[in-house]
Amino acid sequence: MSYTGLRSLLPKNDLLSFGVLALLLVVILPLSLDIFRLNLIGKYLTYAFVALGLVLCWGYGGILSLGQGVFFGLGGYAMAMFLKLEASSPENTAIQSTPGIPDFMDWNQLTELPWFWEPFHSLGFTIIAIVLVPSVFAYIIGVAMFKRRVGGVYFAIITQAVAAILTILIIGQQGYTGGVNGITDLRTLNGWDIRTDGAKYFFYFLCVFLLFVCLLIAQFVRKSKLGRLLVAMREMEDRVRFSGYDVSNFKIFVFCLGSAFAAIGGAMFTLQVGFMSPTFVGIVPSIEMVIFCAVGGRLSIIGAVYGTLVVNWAKTSFSESFPELWLFAMGALFIAVVMAFPNGLAGLYKKYGEPLLLRVIDKVKAGRGGLGGDLNSKGVVHERQ
């Protein structure tokens, strides 16, 4: 990409926030935290993928999905299936009545691997499946809903029902899915032990890298015509439709993109935590992920990352010291974000932080003899009414 292209993709204020985030995630946190805490941050960052997808779908597209956990889960399960097959080599599972299949299948009297597990012997297939399966699933849901102009609250509730269906299915079909226990005890990736500290560092940085890739894609969408159309659709869908655009296709696209992000997050979750369970597919985690996005600021892709980090960090430290108070704090946070800070952390930053930072930078530049830059940040999306 040319310099001007990059410049238009990342104007000064955005470049600044990307840079600060990169500094935080790549340098400051790894240097200041031990591997246990860093691994936790890595886990939180996997939720940030979902929150990022929600910024695009909900903040820009106005499509609130309460079933993002479904896609997070699908991605995570795809990864977990590969790792589980590797962990269930005939040597490792010699005590089972049927060696070579995952332990939970053996407990449920399965004597051979189900057909849909077979392809997950291949890492290449798995990586493709992680992105493709949830996207296709999202595409089907999207076509069915958006072509029929189901939107807003109805869409939210239907996605919720989808999450409920998938959870019941996964738990009910435990011979094929591991049931409520999930797929546990994952050890190696192509023979490499994923439980060591070294692996954890590696996955942390891989996670950060992928997050930045997704952030850039999201930024690209935001800055493109598509992003502006999404905002237009959110504000006045009919007018966009009357202008000759096929509104549903844009919605389907952004919904698929959001679900692909969520799936990547899910796969990274499995790698870092070492198992996948149906608790992530359900309704409660799906709604929690919406709150990560809302705390960060539903219009800010960078904010989504901070929102996720802040809420989860608070959750961990709160529940370590005052488990009983945690739900009060979490509930209050939901209400406060909605009532007092509808634009979340990003809104606060835009209002107070960024002008200050830019002024400082400009002062420094001016001090060096440069010209003062304009303080008004361009490209600020209109606040939603």
Partner: protein, 308 residues
């Protein structure tokens, strides 16, 4: 699977299964009516609906304890008082919540979802702090226990009949309020066109508060009734929330008749499938069926034609 049974046995089983479906139907109606008013009429997504129901259940628990301790001779009738108290308590809390939270959010329906979800977390923890993490057992008066024997095989649980009559009673009352009272006219006009309703002198804020309170109050009564068939614990409310929303949405959010029709459809589908399939699979199929129909008819079974 029916080869081993005589025709009369089969007939009675089908009769009982139909009755089981009717009980489920009444349960769904009770769950959904309050939400139908709040969501359907006001467009507020109240995720704390289940917690309002559990408030009713806890009020019933407290009332039963008070009666057992202080006036055991009146224990048989405590349930009616408990339901009235549940209505008042849940309704009052509902009005408070409307005043503090909801009224600021009428133009942002998706945000009401988040705020009320936060509220539901706070209420859950509040119940846990006050009543303990364990479930509480509500003692029922004797006349509500047991069943009526109609034939050798057909037995009808009394609390089922009670829930059913309650569901009918509340539905009729709500319908009368909505379509036969002055207040109902005001509610409907506010729903259809808020500025215009305000312009002709309706106090829309007051109408909103009462409507929200009424919806929550009905949830409280439902929760009180559910102590007969379900558990009462800090998180019990979450068991109901998805079903409740589906019933309301499936029925077509703005139509009370739709809510009742959808409760009937879903409950019958689920209970007849439960007889042939495992419980988990019938739940999945019912949900799939509802989602599928909603894709065909996004506005639900009955939708109100309104110009917006």
């Amino acid at each position: 699977m029916f080869a081993d049974y005589s025709t009369s046995e089969l007939m009675s089983i089908f009769a009982m299964q139909g009755f089981a479906g009717l009980i489920l139907f009444s349960v769904f109606v009770l769950m959904a009516l309050g939400l139908a008013i709040i969501f359907g009429q006001m467009g507020v997504i109240n995720m704390a609906h289940g917690e309002f129901m559990i408030l009713g259940a806890y009020i019933t628990y407290l009332t039963s304890n008070i009666f057992a301790d202080h006036m055991p001779q009146l224990f048989g009738s405590y349930f009616f008082i408990a339901m009235a108290l549940a209505f008042v308590a849940a309704g009052a809390l509902g009005m408070l919540v409307e005043w503090a939270l909801i009224r600021h959010l009428y133009h942002r329906p998706l945000d009401t979802l988040l705020a009320t979800w936060g509220l539901s977390l706070i209420l859950q923890q509040l119940y846990r702090t006050i009543f303990g993490a364990r479930e509480v057992g509500v003692t029922l008066p004797d006349w509500l226990m047991g069943s009526i024997q109609l034939t050798d095989v057909i037995e009808v649980p009394i609390n089922g009949i009670f829930v059913m009559s309650l569901a009918i009673g509340i539905s009729v009352t709500v319908a009368a309020l909505m379509y036969r009272s002055r207040w109902g006219i005001q509610v409907r006009s506010v729903v259809q066109n808020r500025p215009m309703a305000g312009a002709v002198g309706i106090n829309t804020a007051k109408v909103d508060r009462l409507t929200f309170g009424l919806g929550c109050g009905i949830a409280g009564v439902a929760g009180s009734a559910f102590t007969m068939i379900g558990s009462t614990g800090p998180t019990s409310g979450q068991l109901y929330i998805v079903d409740t929303f589906l019933v309301v949405v499936f029925g077509g959010a703005q139509s009370l008749l739709g809510t009742i029709a959808s409760a009937f459809t879903i409950s019958q589908a689920q209970s007849s499938m439960e007889f042939f399939l495992s419980g988990s699979m019938s739940k999945v199929l019912t949900l799939l069926f509802v989602v599928f129909i909603l894709m065909l008819r996004p506005q639900g079974l009955f939708s109100l034609k309104v110009r917006r």
